[in-house]
Symmetry: D2
Subunit: 227 residues, 4 copies
């Protein structure tokens, strides 16, 4: 299904095979699938993910600052709004049901693997251009889409994490992934032409994608360790 | 009416009396009011204002990057989305009716007073913090609200610019101004406490507000000169 | 002589022929050459140029933030240090001889053409990558080298501006130009390969170079107008 | 001895007592002092520290971009130059003696605790102002000064790490610490006045200092773990 996320993503994903497998099939993910993930690990993850979304929305705001075309601007503006005014709200609701308030979420201590990941992504954009930022943002956006779609098909009927899985498996989020993937393909063509892998910049873009994927692995692990 | 935009704005506005008058009562503005503004000046302005909105939305994206509270984040995210996915579209529609396409708008040459203004605002944020950026953003957002409200009351019945006036006079835009003004008051209190004018930073914030107001004067003049 | 500044500069320069001529042969420049430039224009320029150097050094600091290789880092670090700890000092000395203190220089009102230029250069870097910034920085660094070298050969024996001319004509500054030009050639090859003009990015880089050149024309004109 | 580094540092240090102790008396530091640190740990640290210096010099470049006074600009410009053109060279020489080339250093894989630290510092500056950046930069600059001065007094006569200790204990580096500490005091007074701890911003500045101190602890630990 991830073919729907565009050709750039497919190439980057193939270029990070081992870390991509470690990320998308992490024990945390498998615990969501079969329901064996401890509730405490899930909640610790949710709290950190709320802090993550705060900085991830800042990274998409940076993407808007570095956009070159109308399509790039619109995708970034829509994503910023969706993250801040929608997805952060979903976390607030879920956490509220488990007795964690929004003020607690906003004030939660940011653990080191969380901090490392978002600041790396932000600096990929600050130090480079729109493409560097996209390569560092892609593993989160598109990896969650891939994980959601797979878990929706493979999940245990009684996993208590069906709602989380549905969030990323449903048509709306899959549509976001397809739009972002298509926009990235356009951004690549706009800047590197029709043979982007021949560009001297390709190895650096791949390095950003691979590093961000490794930081996703650390993020899941942080959730398990915090349980 | 501008009292509704908060106490910080009221103080900054009082601290920039002469340029604020020059901005809000510029010959271009009076020409909108009484209908004497040449159509060619209005169209030249609209084209430049489209380019302006592109960079102004980048400045609000920077505001999101530099936000410290949920309210700041939400105001910035909502504004970014409104500018890119709504207000830029309004300009496209208006220009389309006068035979100017969106591609032409996006590719329009940015005149020097336009460039000077937006890049100054962006750099106020890059070089400073959220407050520096707000002081530089405020004259545009809130000045247009003040101009729109006044012109709605004073306009000639037959001015052809009634639609432009209504855009900034109507309840929706006035609500944006009130929300932004309130958010700025909160941002000031959050960082400078309850006696912000006693802070050593106040003079620099006032300087940003005053400079941005002067750059608004240059922007109207650019519209007249381009006719 | 400008061939010594590298092949990228030669191409950009050829791509901005009319504005480059307007910049390097501006009436202000010719007044330096033949000595006819009013002293008041020169001093007004010097004061603005001091403010310019302050923000230009910020742009070179941004270049260091966006460097990818050791050579880029070293060139940027050396330039930052030279601008802040050496060239700004030269302006201070010259101005002091004419009764203008350093505190006055640091507090001087920045005129609009000055503001427009430096903020444009800074935003070229913020919105793009190292190459976008280099394309916007090059006209100042290398144009002054070209002007200095030409005026040293063509100047009237009795022009009172011999010291200014010598600053940019002498071996030290020419060496800086050669090093920067060579570094830019390397930065281009590092990111765009050996056929950089075939890259989709080339037109944008040329646009930055051309725009910055036009902003140099406005800067000289500001000096004349301020007399 | 650290009283010489200014009153702001003294207050921040007192506000981070436990992590400051964990940082300045880490097992890695004690191993440098008594000579028990494995050579492999030291070399692993040196390689990571070279990568660290690369990004730390970028953070000082950002400080120059966000400077408000001549003193701030000069301190930042001098530090950038010292880090890139001097201190990185010292690491190159030391590593060369142990068979590690500069190209290897520049290409070394950046470990996660290293990445987390520098990107956090950079983002403190991007998201905030000059003071936020200084609060995040201070633990490294001034902590190394404090560690160097203490170890010079307490070191075992036969520790093989005398040269490292001397680098940070000698008058030149201590002078840097005093100048930076004094500049920070000035920067605080310039923006927050003479009762800075009463400012609503103080808690956030303290949080940056404390977090950066914790990231220093992780950095030493990374050196031990890599042995």
């Amino acid at each position: 299904m991830s073919g729907a996320y565009g050709s750039t993503f497919a190439t980057w994903r193939a270029g990070a095979e081992a870390p991509w497998q470690a990320y998308t099939h992490h024990a945390f993910v498998e615990g969501l699938r079969d329901g064996s993930l401890p509730r405490s690990a899930f909640l610790a993850y949710l709290v950190q993910d709320y802090v993550f979304l705060r900085h991830f929305s800042r990274a998409w705001a940076l993407a808007l600052m570095k956009s070159d075309t109308l399509e790039e601007m619109r995708t970034a503006a829509t994503t910023v709004d969706a993250l801040v005014n929608h997805e952060m709200g979903l976390h607030v609701e879920t956490c509220a049901r488990h007795g964690i308030s929004e003020a607690e979420l906003f004030a939660a201590e940011e653990l080191a693997p969380n901090l490392a990941y978002t600041r790396y992504v932000l600096d990929a954009g600050v130090s480079g251009d729109f493409l560097d930022l996209m390569a560092a943002l892609a593993p989160c956006v598109l990896g969650y889409g891939e994980i959601g779609a797979r878990l929706a098909a493979e999940k245990a009927p009684d996993t208590p994490y069906g709602e989380w899985i549905a969030t990323y498996a449903d048509a709306e989020y899959q549509g976001v992934c397809e739009a972002v993937g298509q926009m990235i393909d356009g951004a690549i063509a706009h800047r590197l032409g029709d043979a982007p892998e021949a560009s001297p910049r390709w190895s650096r873009l791949q390095a950003h994608f691979t590093r961000a994927t490794q930081l996703e692995v650390d993020f899941w692990q942080m959730g398990l360790d915090a349980a």
